[in-house]
Symmetry: C2
């Protein structure tokens, strides 16, 4: 039996991992839509390889190139935000939502409205638009399968019990490259130093988020949206080896943990084959070779980002969207050499303190909060 799949964000890292897995079991999949921002040639090649029904570039300026690259095939070509939403609305059995940033919100929402399975890799969907998005999931009977390694781990651990029997959910965090640094050292940390992540090979923004631990803060908010056990039951644990991806403790004292290599194909495979399993080429776990796993309580004095995220989650409404948008502005400023590393969290805190928007009820209200938070955060970067 074949399953149909749409991949929103086919040319990024999640897209590549997903297609690597689909390629290995080519006959089990029918590809509906593949999308990219503007990588027309690459997208066209993938659409041809996988026999996609439609290929879409988000940036309309790249449509001509896409059309040309698809000439002679019977694959549709389309461009622009509305085309993205139309492609996502075609209703695949599984939609992988892997567009980075707020651009992914509308097509993800369109896929949710079809009521199928959504493998969710877009963080903004749950952080900024969390309440709007989960309400839509409920309304349309869609199934969210988290692809983040941590949330996918929790999702797997929850197969061994019922959510009402959960006593605690523990998100593990590598602690980033500055785990042992003093506050003074952190003040002087450079972008080059922050970009050296110990375990995962990721983009620049998310690697800086890992160094500030804002990445874990955002995941904390996501976990709160995905797994409604109550904020007080969600914890963060520093685990430098990142072998245990996350854990769920039940009320009888049993803790289920999911472990694996730092390879996104593992959680993606679990979404693609869910509720079954599929082969991946990932090496088996060898704990004897690893020797030791270590664990530390997080230090929110040196790394206040997780505290800010918890405050945003507690406040609810617009606060998580403000946190996420302000953080993007602050990280960009740090990468551009405009602010110190330790100023990232301060900028986020200041933006949150200054901006009090009403809770967004629709996607466009979410986008308005996002824009306003970026404006306020950017304003703080200007000389007074």
């Amino acid at each position: 039996m074949t399953r149909s799949i749409t991949l929103l964000g086919a040319t990024g890292s999640i897209g590549a991992s997903t297609l690597d897995l689909v390629r290995r079991e080519r006959d089990k999949w029918r590809v509906v839509a593949l999308t990219a921002n503007c990588q027309a040639a690459e997208l066209a090649a993938l659409a041809r390889e996988f026999g996609a029904e439609i290929a879409v570039v988000a940036d309309e300026r790249c449509l001509a190139e896409l059309r040309e690259a698809l000439a002679g095939s019977d694959i549709e070509a389309a461009g622009g935000a509305a085309a993205l939403v139309e492609a996502a609305s075609r209703g695949a059995d599984l939609t992988v939502s892997a567009i980075v940033g707020c651009a992914g919100l509308a097509p993800t929402m369109a896929a949710i409205e079809q009521g199928g399975m959504i493998a969710l890799a877009n963080k903004e969907a749950l952080v900024s638009a969390g309440e709007v998005m989960t309400a839509a999931v409920e309304r349309h009977g869609a199934t969210l399968l988290p692809t983040d390694s941590e949330h996918n781990a929790i999702f797997q651990c929850l197969q061994a019990g019922r959510i009402e029997d959960v006593r605690a959910i523990t998100l593990t965090a590598s602690g980033g490259p500055f785990r042992d640094w003093s506050h003074e050292q952190l003040k002087a940390a450079t972008p080059a130093q922050a970009l050296k992540h110990p375990n995962w090979d990721m983009g620049a923004k998310i690697t800086i988020d890992s160094a500030t631990m804002m990445n874990k803060g955002l995941e904390y908010i996501e976990a709160h949206r995905l797994f409604p056990v109550g904020l007080e039951k969600i914890r963060i644990l520093v685990h430098p080896q990142s072998v245990i991806h996350s854990m769920v403790e039940y009320r009888d004292g049993s803790t289920l943990a999911q472990l694996g290599p730092s390879d996104m194909r593992v959680p993606i495979a679990s979404c693609l084959a869910w509720p079954g399993r599929m082969n991946t080429p990932c090496a088996p776990l060898d704990l004897a070779a690893l020797g030791t796993l270590s664990f530390f309580a997080p230090d929110e004095e040196r790394f206040p980002a997780t505290r800010l995220a918890r405050e945003a989650a507690e406040a609810g409404g617009a606060a998580p969207a403000v946190l996420s948008a302000a953080n993007e502005v602050a990280v960009a400023a740090f990468l551009a050499g405009k602010v110190e590393f330790t100023r990232i969290a301060l900028l986020v805190a200041e933006t949150m303190a200054q901006l009090h928007c009403p809770a967004p009820q629709t996607l466009s209200e979410v986008l308005a909060v996002d824009a306003e938070a970026r404006r306020v955060a950017a304003g703080m970067l200007e000389p007074a």
Copy 2:
């Protein structure tokens, strides 16, 4: 809704843990039968407390005392092997099989024949009578819930996938008190030294089995019976802290692990409430306080017991029963100061080499193999 429960072996350690949990949710349970070997007064007190339908002592000589202790109540009193089987045949929703040794085989089989749920703590059932027992489980549609912390962990981890998708099952082992000892040191090890187990408080026989790692060998055979993934997929990993109780790796590279305190109430609670969960008074897992988990490959040169168990499992038929019986004789001889610690495994190996019985087809054939293996092993202890 109440569930009915029978507890075979109510006065032992598993029995006490089970009743501690039942006591906490007294209104959810109806107690059918409680049994003991000969602790008549203690058994009668428990039968009165839990309002049991019948109390049985395995040793008929203790029946008079039991009758006296139950005088004036409407609780039936019975004694002897046949009464044990009769009590187990009364068909409770859940039967906890916690009688130690071969005495537990017949009543466990009687419970299996009722087709209910069997929480299995009796090791001999699966090691010595494994093929006979699992065939009966299949035939009568019974459900085996393993209570051993390792097998219970595997059972929980298997909730996240299908057995045909399992790539490996890893049983963790504390490594025992002699984990770092040289062969020369092992030769001189005393019973008092062997009885100091680092993590679990258990009986003498099982603590010595932990020191030789035969305990893990027996668990390996049990795992092979409970989880038919093939012997080559079952592994042993030394993990001195015993926090991870066991693991299951799926073919996509996801490993599920179950972690918890060294408290038998955790796996027993998981059986009692299965497929739900119930509260236990066990402390939450605090990995940050633990700090480190470590892992080592087992050393079968110094600890050959797991190799012997693998050979017995590969041979099948009578071999596991011979291994288990010879080991009991050898451990008793070590505890009595008659043989060196390192001779335990040698005696088992020699008995296995000497004795080649046909595969037992019935419980009485299993018991005959057991008796013959004890005779042969004991003979090896005599001066030539």
